[in-house]
Amino acid sequence: MKKTALNSTHKRIGGKLVEFAGYEMPIKYSSINEEHLAVRNSVGVFDVSHMGEFWIEGPQALDLIKKITSNDPSVLAPGQAQYTCFPNGKGGIVDDLLVYCFEPTKYMMVVNASNIEKDWDWVVSKNSIGARLTNASDTISQLAVQGPNALKTLQKLTDINLSEIQFYTFVTGQMAGVDNIIISATGYTGAGGFELYFSNSVAEKMWNAIFEAGEEFDIKPVGLGARDTLRLEMGYCLYGNDIDDTTSPIEAGLGWITKFNNGREFIDREFLKMQKTEGVTRKLRGFVMLEKAIPRHGYEIVNENGNTIGTVTSGTMSPVLNKGIGLGYIAKEYSAFGTKINVKIRNKLMPAEVVKLPFI
């Protein structure tokens, strides 16, 4: 099993470690609910160093990214980041990812840990035009510092004015006395904050500095358990649950990152355009349980007659709402907001309602 540079730190502070995507990762430290609320109300830190980073460089870099991603990377100026996905050539999704533009000839892709190898092979196989590719996944650490007090915490560690870093932009500079930290105003929690990228060799130093700076805000380490409940409250997709090789970005509600402008030729363009124009037969929707019940991945969604109309892809008890919430693919006829549906839980039909995202 692979380990991040902070593995021994997690063990020392009492993290409960589990296997995730081939890495030994903390699922929780104290309690998922406590960690969740720490991020919503103050500030929490996630070690997400298991995620993958690819450098795409050279005069062909932009052309390669234009060809293989659903969003339009040509709108990116240096210092901007973009959420996008790799269409798989069969109407599905290879992975979802962030693209960071450093220079017009230098980009970084940040991909899911579970897909690093698959994505790398995919990008390499599509690179007939000769962009320079580097898989830096094993040398880069990433910490997500998230929550309403994330900015105040990190501001103590740097002279860069963090409040000037707009959402989905980034700067590279000094933090905690370390140079070349990528400071990105992005995240997977909806609570605000930053994602920091740096070399493995300074991971412990950065971790310790952040916790010292955040002490007055009762900063907490946060595991993958709360990362999942936080992203689900926002309705963000998780690859492997809500999107995969068999779901299209249009069905998944990712039409906003599927851009057909300027005649850009990208993988699955025609198919996705047809789906966008003609509509899809199922849609990824959020729903709230109307009684005490928790939907889980794989549970059936049924209509009032008990006929299957969909499948739950993610579910949990929302720590903020204290209600069961979920995402699932639902037949178009039942996908309007406000529609009453049922989730089959242990052979009982539990009522739920289709709602707009985010949940909170």
Binding site: S31, G225, T229, I294, T316, M317
Partner: protein, 126 residues
């Protein structure tokens, strides 16, 4: 790890306290730690007579859902009503206020199959 000496245990991480012909049942401290925050305990078998090993309910934590099994056969005579509003009692006080059901013991000889505190400790440390 808290494993009280006065209780019996099962391989499914439940504890049993014998009170005459009644067995009080809950999940162990180890189990509640593995489950994490318990958000929902569903027991709809009150009044039913079930065999050893049958499911008497379900415990839902934030990340997981687990069945609860009868450690011995008998009638589910009572359930802990307090868990409906405070499921986190299972985390806070697994051997006390977090108890789940009381079973009217059908066959006392089944108690012989339960694990001693020492055996249970060995099992979770293995």
């Amino acid at each position: 790890m808290n494993i009280p000496e006065n209780l019996k245990y099962t391989q499914d991480h439940e504890w049993i306290r014998i009170e005459g012909d009644i067995a009080v049942v809950g999940v162990t401290d180890f189990a509640q730690g593995e489950l994490g925050d318990v958000v929902f305990v569903e027991i709809e078998t009150e009044g039913e007579t079930l065999d050893k090993g049958e499911t008497f309910g379900t415990v839902e934590a934030v990340k997981t859902v687990s069945d609860l099994f009868m450690p011995i056969g008998g009638e589910v005579a009572e359930l802990n009503e307090a868990l409906a509003d405070d499921p986190e009692l299972v985390n806070k006080d697994p051997y006390g206020e977090g108890w789940m059901i009381k079973i009217k013991i059908a066959d006392p000889s089944e108690l012989d199959d339960l694990l001693s505190p020492g055996d249970y400790k060995k099992m979770i440390e293995a």
